[in-house]
Amino acid sequence: MNQQPFLRIFTAPATLCAVGFVAAMVAVLQYSLRAYVPGSLDPGGFTLANFADLLKPLYARVFLDTVVVCAMTAVVTLIVGYPLAYALVRVEQPILRSILLVIVVTPLFLGEVVRTYAWIIVLGNNGFINSLLMSLGLIGKPLQLMFTPFGVVVALVHVTLPVMVIMLAAGLSHIDRDYSRAAESLGAGPIRVFLTVTLPLSLPGVVAGTTTAFAWTFSAFATPQLIGGGRVNMISNLVYQLGFSSFNFPFAATLCVAGLALTALVLGLLQLASRPLRKIEVH
């Protein structure tokens, strides 16, 4: 009966984690259905009022902003990441390759807070960009880069880039070089080969990368907190404010549940839209 004797032992740690995760989710879910009792840390009775509150313009606005920031980040990361991933896969000189790899992977080891702090130094009123532009005489007074959606997106792109590049490179490296050789033999120059063969065949990787980038930024906290400075709010920041400044745990939980549902919805839609692509099998 037990054909794989090690299966249980090997899956035990994963099962344990899964149980803990499910317990936490259930706790959040049940908090989201409780009433908020001002001045108390304990929730009140069951209610759906929290979910109705989500529709208030103040909160709906944050959801919309989050989706917009995530979408912009995903798109910009894709545009920046694709050439990097392409070069990473195609460049043949070992030295160039290593340099690329370092550029792409190092940010992963720095953590979100450190990277975000670096961007504060770059984007601030006395930061690198403004100092440079002013000393060149291109602008008279500093550009407002901090505390803007632009600044948040720029920093989030940096945070998301490694994941995007790794996923795109994985997709690209699975495309057999014989496809582009075949196209060349049929008279296609480099640009045509890229547009008609490499790019279409890499679309599954593009979808995977974009989806992951989107989900990855959806839960961003430190970056919008530090660079948005309260003026660009994403869901995590709202959860933090409500949960840890106002101690409104039930509504914070409701925001979590709604955020999760929204992520699932967006990812589901992306998957659905990209279904035709899955038929492209790349050996």
Binding site: D178, R181, S185, L186, G187, A188, P200, K279, H283
Partner: protein, 369 residues
């Protein structure tokens, strides 16, 4: 069989002149010279790693040579990129574009050449008819069998009227019967269109049955270039003798050489062999005889024969029987003997003592070492 049209200027479609290619410290090709005549079917045959694919890639422009020059239709193409060479290439794994239909795959090379829509559709239809794939236009490659994918790849390469068709082990993924029928079909189409073709294989049967000429390669060199009959009957060196077709090697001692004839001692027996390759060799030098399995005949042990032994294996092959004979004398040497028909199965049962006579006038002899 076409007369060899190599190096005759305008008749030559593809010419490799002293082409050398190195990968780091591996010499993949050393000074290879080869001319392929217009409309000729030349096969590159050799063991794995001998440089066949490298030579084909050089012709296609997927690699550049380190030395020597390559010309197509009399024009030096060393520095011309693949997409301007007008070649047709068929890849071992087909490399059909998975995101395009059969018709789109075949039309690809016509689109890059800006062939107008109407003419394009007609040529695609003609090419698909040629490879017997009418009605499959809208399928995707993954909806085709291996043999059908093969045909699409062929149609895609043919439709652009390439100056030369390059094929890298195109049939190695097919099962035997499909492979045989594809071989016949490819050859028919090639003849009909008069296509200059360079074909790569490590299957010597395929090489012998399809080619006008075969280039036998080993370690980055062409060891022999000739018609299939030449290569099989008169191998240029021991490598070709043992690589092309089945062969038995017998060690002997030279007794005498007279111009075209030589006498070699095999144990106690003396055999007359062709002597061209032995001139200048000292008496009693060691020589190797290469004898094809069909150049042996089995006789009763008491009859006059060169070698004695006993049957250790019978391999019934339908049209003929292959017998393995272990030579007496305790050396354990085994010979492969091919006997037409099927009488041999009953006539020479397992363990039977036999004598082997050699039709030595057609065997090949090379000095040892």
């Amino acid at each position: 069989m076409k007369p060899s049209a190599s190096a005759e200027g305008e008749q030559t479609a593809v010419h490799f002149d002293a082409v050398t290619k190195r990968f780091d410290d591996v010499v993949a090709l050393s000074a290879v010279t080869l001319g392929v005549g217009r409309g000729e079917f030349v096969t590159l045959l050799g063991p794995s790693g001998c440089g066949k694919t490298t030579l084909l890639k050089l012709a296609g422009g997927f690699l550049g040579p380190d030395g020597g020059s390559i010309s197509i239709e009399g024009k030096r193409v060393n520095d011309i990129p693949t997409y301007q060479r007008g070649i047709g290439m068929m890849f071992q794994n087909y490399a059909l574009f998975p995101h395009m239909s059969v018709a789109e795959n075949v039309a690809y090379g016509l689109k890059t050449r800006r062939v107008p829509r109407v003419e394009r559709d007609k040529r695609v239809a003609d090419a698909l008819a040629l490879v017997k794939l009418k009605g499959m236009e809208n399928r995707k490659p993954r909806q085709l069998s291996g043999g059908q994918q093969q045909r699409v790849a062929l149609a895609r390469a043919l439709v652009i009227n390439p100056t030369v068709l390059l094929l890298d082990e195109p049939f190695s993924a097919l099962d035997k019967s499909l492979r045989t029928s594809m071989q016949v079909e490819l050859r028919e189409i090639q003849r009909k269109l008069g296509l200059t073709t360079i074909f790569v294989t490590h299957d010597q049967g395929e090489a012998l049955s399809m080619s006008d000429r075969v280039a036998v390669m080993s370690e980055g060199r062409i060891r022999q270039l000739g018609s299939p009959v030449d290569v099989y009957r008169s191998p240029a060196d021991p490598f070709v003798a043992s690589f092309v077709g089945d062969n038995n090697r017998l060690r002997g001692q030279l007794v005498s050489v007279h111009a075209k004839q030589a006498i070699v001692a095999l144990g106690d027996a003396l055999v007359n062999v062709p002597g061209e390759s032995l001139s200048g060799l000292e008496k009693s030098a060691a020589v190797d005889l290469y004898v094809r399995p069909e150049q042996f005949s089995i006789v009763a042990p008491e009859e006059p024969c060169a070698i004695k032994g006993s049957v250790v294996a019978q391999i019934y092959q339908g049209g003929h029987v292959d017998l393995q004979i272990e030579c007496s004398g305790g050396t354990g040497d085994r010979l492969l003997v091919r006997s037409p028909g099927e009488q041999a199965v009953l006539r020479w049962p397992m363990g039977a003592p036999v004598g082997i006579a050699i039709q030595a006038d057609r065997c090949s002899v090379f000095p040892v070492g």
